[in-house]
């Protein structure tokens, strides 16, 4: 059966022939008759509009489609124009056409061979020059056939002469018809060069390929039987239930389907305005409301959006339960990594999430654990699938996700969601100053809001003006991190002394997050801490896995604290390497590189300052500040950094008591090293926490006050640095704003100054917060100062 099937011509021919047969029906088909054209009578012909009308009637289609179908049939040679042997098109007018006889239908015989073609051509040569003269291309092919078929040429000419002789006996009208039919047949099968040939087939579908040769072995059958058995046992849902699901899916996502409901602000392909893409980059700060709403539709929608995943992780981190999502991401990553890394990754994941007392032990039931342990004996990319599924369905999907959607965090995001539709108005009325203003506000919000998410990439996007080249920037950027991480190293190590904070990327989020307790209402904080994390750590799972345990790293730095003074650069560099390699390893998450790579790539200064600012904000402000300044003066002091920062992790972190016992365990060994002299560190920590949160609440304090306070303190290193920090922060803000200014695609100019002011104000306010924090640190907390 397979064989006969395979040999069969394409299915379409059955359908076409069925239709043409109906067409030729004497009663219900297209009327064929001798048509008078001026003085000549043309036998067996019909007009173009006849067939169009018939098709419209028969298939109930509109005129365009009827013309299209008729043209297809014409190209396949089921009928052909009487007066034009060159083109096979059908026009919806009174031009005349004639049916082909079934003998000449395209698939009724095998593809005609060259001998037949040669006979046909030589036959035409023998006949009336005027009516049967060969076209140039036909002449050419006749000549080449002559060469190729030399040994048969005698036979060919004989055949041709015979056929010419026979045709002489026929009636004139009949002769005209058959000649034209033969000619049309060859027009289809040997088209003039440059013409579309419908007879061409895909090479793979011509000769019965594999399937004709293959006989089904008993093994195939056994496999099939097994499949069928399993299929019968399958549990099915009622068709109505299943279909209802499909229909409601369609309803739900209707508004997210750009081809049905359009894109906000506009579809780039329609309007040539790529704003839509800017809003929908994998990582953005100004998240459109629609995008945020979509996260609430399903967990898949949330985690498949890089920004959504990032916010979700952020939220979970605040709840101290982000080990689940991190584990799940790590397992996904494992599945997608190359074979050579599997073993190592399995180990890493086990050590980090599953081993007893692991730094981020996940909570799965005994059965799953047992299964995983069994799987661990033969590590593969699917080793943790069971555990990951458990985590995903039971913990993330049923617990964390709904909580996230109900949380203040999400509600805040939603409230701050951007409405890009406003932009459409703007594009409609270019030059309308009033509109421009509101519009720009919008834009500022979006861009100033994201001075850093996209950090470098978004601003560069905007600068690129061609814009939306975020994507192309990505391609390049990511490439770099993929293929040439060594390139980054020199850049980074140069930077080390100046922007050591970048080498600290991995730690920052931890510090940065903790103070950002849900109680802190402003989204600024999110933004800022966001920016750091974006560049650094957890936009991507791979990076997370690398950075999971700041403690570990800290251990090295912290343990040796004083001894290792001479190593600062190397530590920092090592971090860099970790960062870059991790980003390169994470191939699948495109966004990863995006930021990481581009962050490395350029704008090192602004990144550095941004980072510094955000570190400051991040809560471990005093320490950072101090380090910042010290780094600025003496590279030597950079050393403190890793150690201290890790200390801060604990200091500012949830008070260890409140966390799981494992966590506490893991912290304890570090403690002596970290806070060498502070015996009362727990107390101090609490104090610090308090003071920080206090500072945070006061964050509204105007910029000037703080800096003046700082200045009062004068020689105090901390405050001096704070001032630095402030300056850096404000300059970056300024930068951001200007970059927005200059580059908003199309929008260009008029930025309402209030917004600039207000947003820089906001930045400043947060910076102030950090400054105050640092001050209070200085006054309140001194354990480090004692040192």
């Amino acid at each position: 059966m397979d064989k006969s099937d395979r040999r069969r011509r394409p299915f379409a021919f059955d359908k076409m022939e069925g239709l043409v047969r109906e067409m030729k029906d004497e009663e219900t088909g297209v009327r064929v008759k001798s048509q008078k054209l001026f003085l000549t009578s043309i036998p067996s012909a019909f007009a173009g509009y006849n067939i169009i009308e018939w098709l419209m009637d028969r298939l109930t289609v509109d005129e365009t489609e009827a013309v299209h179908i008729a043209n297809m049939l014409c190209q396949y040679g089921y009928f052909f124009p009487v007066n034009d042997s060159k083109t096979l098109t059908l026009k919806d007018d009174s031009s005349l056409y004639r049916f082909q006889i079934p003998y000449y239908w395209p698939c009724s015989q095998k593809n005609p061979d060259n001998v037949e073609y040669a006979i046909y051509l030589s036959k035409r040569l023998l006949r009336n020059k005027q009516r049967h003269a060969l076209e140039d291309y036909e002449m050419d092919s006749l000549n080449s056939l002559k060469k190729n078929l030399q040994n048969k040429w005698e036979f060919i000419t004989m055949q041709a002469e015979e056929q010419v002789r026979l045709s002489k006996d026929r009636k004139k009208g009949e002769k005209i018809v058959t000649d034209s039919q033969e000619r049309a047949f060859w027009r289809v099968h040997r088209p003039p060069p440059g013409c579309v040939s419908v007879m061409e087939q895909i090479p793979i579908k011509i000769g019965g390929s594999f399937s004709t040769k293959k006989k089904r072995s008993s093994e195939d059958l056994r496999r099939e039987v097994e499949l069928l058995r399993n299929c019968i046992g399958r549990t099915r849902v009622k068709t109505s239930v299943a279909l209802d699901g499909l229909v409601s899916f369609g309803e739900t996502y209707n508004e997210y389907d750009p081809l049905i409901t359009g894109a906000q602000p506009s579809n780039p392909w329609v309007t040539d305005d790529p704003t839509f893409w800017t809003f929908n980059c994998p990582m953005v700060e100004a998240i459109t409301e629609k995008r945020i709403k979509r996260w609430a539709l399903s967990m898949e929608d949330l985690v498949s959006d890089a920004t959504g995943l990032y916010e979700f992780t952020n939220y979970l981190r605040k709840e101290y339960s982000h080990e689940n999502i991190r584990f799940w991401l790590a397992v996904n990553d494992l599945k997608r990594s190359c074979q050579s890394q599997i073993l190592q990754r399995v180990r890493e994941i086990y050590d980090e999430f599953l081993a007893p007392g692991a730094p981020c032990e996940i909570n799965i039931d005994g059965k799953t654990m047992e299964r995983t342990h069994k799987e661990m004996k033969v590590p593969s990319r699917f080793t943790f699938d069971g555990a990951a599924e458990h985590v995903y369905t039971l913990l993330l999907k049923k617990d964390c996700y709904p909580r996230f959607i109900r949380s203040e965090h999400y509600k805040n995001l939603l409230a701050n969601g951007v409405q890009p539709s406003a932009r459409r108005r703007f594009f409609g009325l270019v030059g309308g100053a009033a509109n421009k203003k509101t519009d720009c506000k919008d834009r500022i919000r979006s861009t100033a809001g994201c001075p850093s998410t996209q950090g470098t990439s978004s601003s560069s996007v905007l600068q690129a003006n061609q814009s939306s080249s975020c994507s192309s920037a990505k391609r390049r950027g990511s490439d770099r991190s993929l293929t040439s991480s060594p390139h980054e190293l020199p850049i980074n190590s140069v930077k080390v002394s100046q922007s050591h904070s970048q080498s600290n990327l991995s730690d920052i989020p931890y510090r940065g997050d903790l103070p950002c307790t849900p109680s802190s209402p402003s989204s600024n904080q999110d933004n800022l801490s966001g920016c750091v994390e974006e560049c650094g750590e957890h936009q991507l799972p791979a990076m997370m896995t690398d950075d999971v345990c700041p403690w570990d790293v800290a251990d090295g730095g912290g343990g040796g604290d004083k001894n290792k003074r001479s190593l600062p650069a190397s530590i920092a560099e090592e971090r860099e390497r970790r960062l870059s390699t991790s980003s390169s390893r994470k191939n699948s998450g495109s966004a990863a590189y995006d930021s990481a790579a581009s962050a490395d790539e350029s704008q090192s200064d602004s990144v550095a300052s941004r980072l510094r600012r955000s570190c400051g904000l991040g809560g471990g402000s005093s320490m950072d500040r101090r380090r910042g300044s010290s780094a600025a003066c003496t590279p030597q002091q950079t050393i403190d950094r890793p150690s201290v920062s890790s200390a801060e992790d604990f200091d500012l972190g949830p008070s260890p008591e409140s966390r799981s016992p494992e966590k506490q365990q893991s912290t304890s060994p570090h403690e002596p090293a970290e806070a060498t002299s502070s015996l009362d560190d727990k107390l101090n920590r609490k104090k610090l926490l308090k003071s920080l949160s206090l500072a945070r609440k006061q964050s509204v304090t105007p910029v000037i006050n703080v800096s003046s306070v700082d200045r009062d303190n004068g020689c105090d290193r901390i405050s001096a640095d704070a001032v630095d920090e402030m300056a850096a922060a404000t300059t970056t803000v300024a930068e951001d704003v200007t970059s927005v200014d200059g580059t908003g695609p199309g929008s260009g100019g008029g930025q309402p100054p209030e917004t600039v002011a207000c947003c820089s104000g906001a930045e400043a306010a947060t910076a102030t917060a950090t400054a105050t924090a640092s001050i209070s640190d200085g006054n309140d907390v001194c354990p480090w100062e004692d040192e």
Binding site: F11, L228, G250, Y253, S304
Partner: protein
């Protein structure tokens, strides 16, 4: 050998008896073998029948009925927005870069072109030492493209650096025993999934070229594969010239679900964006949709006026619209729920070989034998 032995041990009579037994043995062997094949195919038929019965049991409504409550898709204003003119060669496949604006295309003359579709600019050209490059795919990072065709191989190029010649960084990852008809990166730059004319699909490790898993079960050329859209999904589907659509578990290499119904070769398969249904397009000029949970065919998209085969299909973001690229140069847009055609897109001047929705669903790209790509929106 047996003869010699028997001569030395036993008298001639016994030898004859022994020989008879030997012959009998042979006969039995052949018999049982053909019998098992026959038995198995009979069992398979029986099971198929039973399966159909099972499937019919829960069949209480039709999709068009359920979809009655929906409003019609009225304002579907899809037009050609970009025309990317290639060389003279037929375009056979195209794929979108994850950046939503670049497209890779492969053609009959072995050229792989990288386009910035937004500006209609040709950015890079890679020449393959083969003709009929029937499949090409972008990796999730946008750094790699994979392609293959009549050369039976899947080759990966690194195109991330536009200044460099991509063929310098070329890597042959896997080889089939017949043409390669389709390929995709399963959410990872490190793996490639391919379908081939040797009736198998295979998962390859890009770095080492190792075959991680092969998928046996089809009895005809595999023409198309598609990966489950779900984040945790480890499944993919394949459509073949044996008119079957199979659902595979990537972990075990086993097929777990199968659908039949088409009257001719399946040229294209696609997951519904919900992941709960799959669709197929075939040479029999129909598209069909199967629901995985109901385990049955739920819709046929056909029209009397459509005579030609479907070469490629894709869903819009909401799954509401099913696009099909046809041999008759057109693209039909179906309302997948109401099972009606909502739009007919003219523009190409030869058969449409491949259509792909852009990653964000804003546009549809189509490749055609008329040597051009078009972007519709």
């Amino acid at each position: 050998m047996k003869d010699c032995k028997s001569y030395s041990v036993a008298p001639p009579l016994a030898d004859i008896a022994l020989r008879n037994i030997w012959n009998l043995d042979m006969a039995l062997d052949v018999n049982t073998r053909s019998e098992t094949v026959e038995l198995l195919s009979r069992e398979a038929d029986c099971l198929k029948h039973k399966l159909e019965e099972e499937r019919k049991k829960l069949n209480d409504v039709t999709l068009a009925n359920v979809a009655e409550r929906l409003e019609e898709v009225t304002f579907l204003n899809i037009k050609p927005r970009r025309l990317l003119k290639g060389n003279q060669a037929k375009m056979l496949c195209c794929d979108w870069s994850p950046d939503k604006r670049h497209i890779v295309s492969s053609s009959q003359d072995g050229k792989l072109l990288i386009w910035d579709a937004f500006t209609s600019a040709k950015e890079q050209t890679v020449t393959m030492p083969t003709t009929w490059v029937m499949a090409c795919a972008y990796s999730p990072s946008g750094n790699l493209v994979a392609c293959g065709g009549l050369d039976n191989k899947v080759t990966v190029f690194n195109i991330s650096n536009p200044e460099e010649d991509p063929s310098a960084k070329k890597k042959t990852v896997g080889t089939h025993t017949n043409f390669m008809s389709c390929c995709l990166f399963p959410n990872s730059d490190q793996q490639i999934l391919t379908g081939s004319g040797d009736a198998t699909a295979a998962l390859w490790d890009v770095e080492s070229g190792q075959m991680l898993q092969s998928f046996h079960g089809h009895t005809g050329d595999i023409m198309s594969i598609d990966l489950s859209p779900s984040e945790i999904g480890n499944t993919f589907i394949s459509g073949s010239c044996d008119k079957m659509l199979l659902l595979w578990d990537m972990r075990t290499g086993q097929s777990v679900q199968s659908f039949e119904g088409h009257l001719s070769d399946i040229n294209s398969v696609k997951y519904h964006p919900s992941g709960d249904a799959v669709a197929s397009g075939s040479d029999d000029s129909t598209c069909r949709m199967y629901d995985l949970r109901a385990d049955k065919e739920v819709a046929v998209y056909s029209k009397e006026s459509i005579l030609f085969g479907v070469n490629s299909i894709d869903f819009s973001v909401s799954g509401r619209i099913l696009f099909g690229g046809y041999t008759d140069y057109t693209i039909n847009a179906w309302d997948s729920l109401k099972c009606e055609r909502v739009s007919l897109l003219y523009g190409h001047e030869n058969r449409v070989t491949s259509i792909k929705l852009s990653p964000d669903g804003t546009a549809l790209a189509s490749a055609s034998w008329d040597a051009s790509l078009r972007v519709w929106a």
